[in-house]
Symmetry: C4
Subunit: 266 residues, 4 copies
Amino acid sequence: MSPRREKWREIIFEAETPAGKAFDVILLGLILVSVAAVMVESIKEVRQAIGYPLWILEWIFTGIFTFEYVARLWASRRPWAYARSFYGVVDLLSILPSFIGLLLPGGHALMIVRILRVLRIFRVLKMVRHINGAELLMRALYASRAKITVFFTALATIALIFGTLLYLVEGEEGGFTSIPVGVYWAIVTITTLGYGDISPSTGFGQMLTAFLALTGYAIIAVPTGIVSAEISKLDGDESTDACPSCGVHGHLPDARFCRRCGAPME
Amino acid sequence: MSPRREKWREIIFEAETPAGKAFDVILLGLILVSVAAVMVESIKEVRQAIGYPLWILEWIFTGIFTFEYVARLWASRRPWAYARSFYGVVDLLSILPSFIGLLLPGGHALMIVRILRVLRIFRVLKMVRHINGAELLMRALYASRAKITVFFTALATIALIFGTLLYLVEGEEGGFTSIPVGVYWAIVTITTLGYGDISPSTGFGQMLTAFLALTGYAIIAVPTGIVSAEISKLDGDESTDACPSCGVHGHLPDARFCRRCGAPME
Amino acid sequence: MSPRREKWREIIFEAETPAGKAFDVILLGLILVSVAAVMVESIKEVRQAIGYPLWILEWIFTGIFTFEYVARLWASRRPWAYARSFYGVVDLLSILPSFIGLLLPGGHALMIVRILRVLRIFRVLKMVRHINGAELLMRALYASRAKITVFFTALATIALIFGTLLYLVEGEEGGFTSIPVGVYWAIVTITTLGYGDISPSTGFGQMLTAFLALTGYAIIAVPTGIVSAEISKLDGDESTDACPSCGVHGHLPDARFCRRCGAPME
Amino acid sequence: MSPRREKWREIIFEAETPAGKAFDVILLGLILVSVAAVMVESIKEVRQAIGYPLWILEWIFTGIFTFEYVARLWASRRPWAYARSFYGVVDLLSILPSFIGLLLPGGHALMIVRILRVLRIFRVLKMVRHINGAELLMRALYASRAKITVFFTALATIALIFGTLLYLVEGEEGGFTSIPVGVYWAIVTITTLGYGDISPSTGFGQMLTAFLALTGYAIIAVPTGIVSAEISKLDGDESTDACPSCGVHGHLPDARFCRRCGAPME
């Protein structure tokens, strides 16, 4: 690898050098603006008023992100590994819709073009690269994954049973047209979302609903408790050092002397 | 008990041996597929399109689960105890609807047949047998049962009083047709579910509603706090070392002597 | 006070003796049944079908609770103090509606009679006397009262400001007919209740709503955190004893030896 | 600065002296009453019935708050710094609307006058000065700001992706007229607010909704866990003893030596 390519690799893939940091910040700004452009373009009035400027802007972004993609491929040590990685696929998907839209100029392909145009919103995923500090949260969630799985299995079972019961009790005339619709209603209810698009009208259905709502209200404590306990633990781990003299853990972050043996903490 | 029956008993009822584990995994898959079949069958369009294949599939499942039920009865050390246990009843209920449906071919029994067909969804309860790791959660809930009872009694009292007040304030023309309906509304409100099928229209009713919503918003902290504290405690217990002398688990992190036998911990 | 009256006082006011406990349990059952009777009586169909039996039942309950009230007055050491206490007032209010209803037989007083009939539901407050174990929860809430006051003041300020903004942005045609209605909407939104009886229709109103919903979603963590921390603390206090030898606190509930000095805990 | 002005400065700006405290309490009462007056004035019926008395009351409040503003300017050591501070701007804004309303008597300015009249509600912000004890909560939120930022970025990304998906799946006829509307819906759903003004009607849309609702239900645990852990930590710090030698607070409960100066704690 030539030193020039190596230097560019550092700028593009790392964030330690000032140039690498500037590259990241500029790219983050471009991503946010391009996402905002796709968002406002979906509003009919905006599309009719400034559709052409947005179209030009879109091609500028496509140009920049294409250049970025090619640069990443060129600067990467193993281009193929990058192309198949999560970020490689996201980078490709963020430019592909514009180019595919070019190949489908016919009126009959309008629907596909519209979907492709919207899919550019997933450029927001390019942003994930730039978020720092999510580690503690991810670790807390990861450490609790077994308990969270059990919790969601239990939730799914409750939703299935209550959705089926309401389907039987309320029936089609009550809006519960099938068991999947009943399960949808049960999830909307147990999470205390409560759209009201489907709601019980019979007395027995309302009793079951009240019971399900109370269940949802009470068991939200379970995931909260799990994650709280995990964050508390991980948080505590990070802020402590062992005493160099007696080895006791669990000092406060600003401790200068060991609380057990009185030796200086350094 | 013959060795062959004993061997089958191990496969069917235990999950320690590879064969027993494979039996469990296959059964879990069959349960999930049969539940999915009942779910999609409840959708009118699906029933009209592929009703016959689903009917055949249903009888295949009924056959397999009947075979499983008979095998469990045969392999069990105490068949009668199994038949009356929670799992025995669930296993029987998962095949019974299909057979009862056979005995009621008349058009006038259509409603009952339909309900029976739907009740096969409760096969999902057969799944409970296969969920591991729910112990910590169950212990945390069990340890907090007294506090949870107090909490729900308080919640029911608040719901009863507010439901009655709104019934008086809003009256029948406001949708509050009786006190039970008012209590249903109060539970929907205090759990922050909020369907909107019944909502206050008078100023005083809206004031009471705002007060009830804030109460529900604030006291959700109570079950959460209870279960959080419990999980923290149990969790802490589990993550600590066993006594090298008597093997008891669950010492506090800074324990220097086993709390059960008094032996030094190191 | 005669020994007989003293004995009755113990039965009626205390729950330590078997007779006193039986008195409490019977009364609790009667309260629940009488509350259920008032509830079902409010349903029109039930009132039309079994109005007369319910009317008789009602007078039986009124008789029993009148007898209870007179007995409490007679058996109490200071009848006047009892009559003015919370429970004394509740006991009186639970019988008064029936008697006032008698004095207003005219058709024009129907409304008042109806309200009085419904107010008998507050007999449920007689139940509060019989709930045990609410102390830990009450203590946790009491210990956090300063923080909870600050929290609700902040919440009220946010609700007032957002309710006013939406009143300006959406106006009367959007359902926000006055600032109090806007505040009602803001409370329904920040508590994530979300009836949908009033919801924003303009783009700017929806932006403000999204912001308010996210605020409500995030700051529910505050009361939860406050009460959780409080319950954890109080809970920890209760389950521990000091070591009789070295005085260290914070042992596990089943500890038999001190974890610090190894002395038996007894 | 003359002693008289200095004395007034203490009364107006400080709350330590009895006179200063009385000044604060009276002002707090006036703010609350004036806010209540603006609130009820926005109700059409009230405005028509007692519009004139409210108008007089309004000018009394404007007079008092103008006097207060001038007094603060006069008594302040650096009037210009006060005028540009948060409280200075709030104090000015609380009187400005009434005076601007005077200058716009024409009928065509009615809308502006109406808005100005309503904006006087922001006098409630004058109250912030008088709330004590919010420090612990603010510190807990401040200490968690990095985690909370990560959390909200993640939430915004999820809302953007799901809002876009539903816009594609449900389309305009389903009420999802643009991506911003879809994002509004996604936020209303993930916070479990659930107005029901926009809700999915297709099966696939309902599946995505159920998934989003469960996500919102589960990840509310994250902010709760963060703030809980933080409050626990800060709370624990406060409730422990000071070092007898150097006076530092916030030792761990079992500390035997001060972590700052190493002196024995007893």
